[in-house]
């Protein structure tokens, strides 16, 4: 644990982003982003490619100029400062290690810039390498290392300067699946230990959910939703977020509210919500989003109870392992459902979906946002 005691970091810095507009070569990429990062928090910026998440990170780090808006670090606006004066350290997707330097030179670069002595640099690099599981690699050429090792060196280089803010730009996307899982935990553990404010850009939903305290879902240059992994996953605030977070089945429904009760109609299925349930559903035409594993198969005429049972027909079946995956035609849509019991294609079934697991949004809003592929 001597290594741990030497790797000291200041407490993470707070960031306040206000009304951030950024354009890339005449094209507006960010349309007014407001976002706060608490000191020591781990935030994942999640979104499909082109949503502006990487641009936001690069605007924070000073690599792309800001059109308007402010980026306050610890109360001081840094939006006009060059990258070297912002106190943020980034880990690049491409690692961006300098191939003409050794591991020691790469990690020690920032310390050398700050005028540290050779001995101090060697000691600090040594302890960082121990923390990263690369003890004794000082004199290696970075070109002679594996992807996972390079990623660790890149992380070490960023952490060596004791940054208040750590920026991670899809750092795991070039790694093998197995190493990726290990690195998720390692980065998270190191972040917790050092208390550095961390912003992680990724398009991998699971990566974001498992690593971050808080997710920021971005869509077309705007923030779609901010929340803990549970909030974003279980209570998406828009059709886009529901769809992006994996609720890919879309069922057209009709909602009638009034006289203290709400009625949901989906194809031939009809469900009257009990009086005590108040889901604040939008009235009129709506789209219900649900995950493959939320629904199950039942008899077409089964008693609905608390669920919505939509009659349908099995169109196709596959076996990905553990359970069967069905394509079910119901209410004029093709839906994907996972179920443990084997049914034959063509069989009439009832698609049973618990009401609590339906994410229902007005059709007008949904049709605009859901057209963006997840």
């Amino acid at each position: 644990m001597r290594a741990g005691s030497q790797v000291m970091s200041g407490v993470g810095a707070a960031i306040e982003v206000r009304g951030l507009h950024v354009a890339y070569g005449g094209t507006k990429v960010l349309h007014g982003v407001d976002l706060d990062f608490a000191p020591g928090s781990f935030t994942a910026l999640l979104g499909s490619s082109g949503c502006g998440k990487t641009t936001l990170l690069r605007a924070l780090s000073g690599f792309v100029p800001v059109l308007s808006g402010s980026i306050a670090v610890g109360g001081k606006d840094v939006a006009g400062l060059p990258p070297e004066k912002r106190g943020m350290a980034m880990v690049f997707q491409s690692y961006a290690l300098w191939p003409h330097m050794t591991v020691l030179q790469n990690i020690g670069y920032g310390l050398k810039l700050r005028g540290a002595s050779k001995r101090d640099i060697a000691a600090k690099v040594c302890s960082l390498l121990a923390m990263l599981g690369l003890a004794g690699y000082e004199d290696r050429k970075v070109t002679a290392m594996s992807g996972g090792q390079r990623q660790r060196v890149a992380l070490g280089r960023a952490l060596a300067v004791d940054p208040g803010i750590l920026l991670l730009d899809e750092p795991l996307s070039n790694l093998d699946a197995k190493i990726r899982l290990t690195m998720r935990h390692e980065i998270r553990a190191i972040q917790q230990r050092l208390g550095v404010t961390t912003i992680h850009v990724t398009h991998d939903r699971e990566e974001a959910m498992t690593m971050a305290d808080r997710l920021v879902i971005m869509n077309a240059g705007r923030i779609a939703q901010i929340g803990t992994p549970e909030e974003v996953y279980d209570r998406p605030n828009s059709a886009f977020v529901a769809n992006f977070m994996g609720a890919e089945n879309v069922l057209p429904v009709h909602v009638v509210t009034g006289a203290g009760r709400t009625t949901i109609t989906a194809g031939e299925a009809r469900h009257v919500l009990p009086r005590e349930r108040d889901l604040a559903l939008p009235a009129g035409e709506a789209l219900a989003y649900f995950r493959d594993d939320a629904a199950s198969l039942d008899a077409p005429d089964a008693e609905p109870g608390e669920d919505l049972v939509v009659p349908g027909r099995i169109a196709a079946r596959s076996y990905p392992g553990g359970l069967y995956r069905y394509r079910v035609e119901a209410a004029g849509r093709q839906l994907t459902v996972d179920h443990t019991i084997r049914h034959e294609p063509g069989a009439a079934v009832g698609l049973r979906i618990p009401l609590s697991r339906l994410h229902i949004f007005p059709a007008a809003q949904a049709s605009i946002q859901a057209s963006i592929p997840a």
């Binding site: 060059p82 350290a89 690049f92 491409s94 961006a96 003409h100 670069y109 920032g110 280089r157």
Partner: protein
């Protein structure tokens, strides 16, 4: 069938190797033969008498060859210095900065190649004469550098362009100023290309004739001028020896390239 095929392939390889050796070594052998031929005239296929008389003449302390070689190398080194001093900033600017007239800028460096060199050098000589640098090493260096810049700027731009921008951003990101980033990251990574362009400029300068003839003569006499004089005077022996001397730096530089610049690095130049 297999056996015949491999035999054919071996024969073809041997033939190609022999052809290559003939093309490469033939002219050199001819030069070497001429340099030791004291008397050689038609119809004889080989020299009539051999000797080292002309070598002695060239390497005589009072001879022109060694002095010319010194002048040539001196001018070439200065030319490389001038060309690199211009092409490193120019190449970086062309590769990285968004200049409004980037294409125009690139073409300006190509312009000297677009006209017959004699026409240019006569005018250059006239201007230099008015400036008082005609017949000086400075004048010759400037002419050689203008010629070499065509290549060195383009090669340097390619070398800088091949350096991943993220590598620079990574340095800026952890606290390096733009200048520090350039010196510690960009320049070392572009160095193989820059060295290659320097070598190219050096060899071009060593070989240059027309510009030196108009701007340098008679005060500045480089090796190619000596060679030309000897050849014009029908002295093939001295011309051959001069040519062989001119080959030495070229071969040394090829060895340097082979030793220090890997093929994959060289392939990036111009990419």
């Amino acid at each position: 069938m297999m056996h015949l095929g491999s035999a054919l392939r071996t024969a073809l390889a041997a033939f190609l190797l022999a052809a290559f050796a003939f093309v490469l070594i033939g002219p050199l052998a001819n030069l070497a033969l001429w340099s030791v031929a004291e008397r050689w005239y038609t119809p004889y296929k080989l020299p009539v008498s051999y000797g080292t008389r002309y070598w002695e003449q060239v390497f005589r302390p009072t001879g022109d060859a060694m002095a010319s070689l010194g002048t040539s190398v001196f001018i070439a080194v200065l030319t490389v210095a001038v060309a690199l001093a211009l092409s490193i900033p120019a190449g970086y600017a062309l590769a990285r900065l968004r200049l409004p007239a980037r294409a125009l800028f690139m073409v300006v460096f190509l312009l000297p190649q677009a006209f017959p060199s004699v026409a240019i050098y006569i005018n250059v000589a006239r201007v230099f004469y008015q400036l008082g640098i005609n017949g000086t090493v400075l004048g010759v260096v400037l002419v050689h550098a203008a010629h070499g810049l065509v290549y060195s700027v383009w090669i340097a731009a390619a070398a800088f362009g091949a350096v991943d921008k993220d590598l620079e951003l990574a340095a800026r990101n952890i606290g390096a100023s733009p200048l520090k980033t350039f010196v510690s990251v960009t320049l070392p990574l572009a160095a193989p290309g820059i060295v290659a362009s320097g070598i190219f400029v050096f060899l071009e300068s060593l070989d240059e004739f027309t510009g030196t003839f108009f701007v340098g003569v008679p005060q500045v006499r480089t090796l190619p001028l000596l060679l030309y004089n000897a050849a014009m005077g029908g002295n093939y022996q001295v011309a051959s020896i001069t040519a062989l001397i001119l080959l030495v730096p070229s071969v040394l530089f090829m060895l340097f390239i082979e030793r220090f610049l890997r093929a994959d690095v060289l392939a990036k130049v111009g990419a």
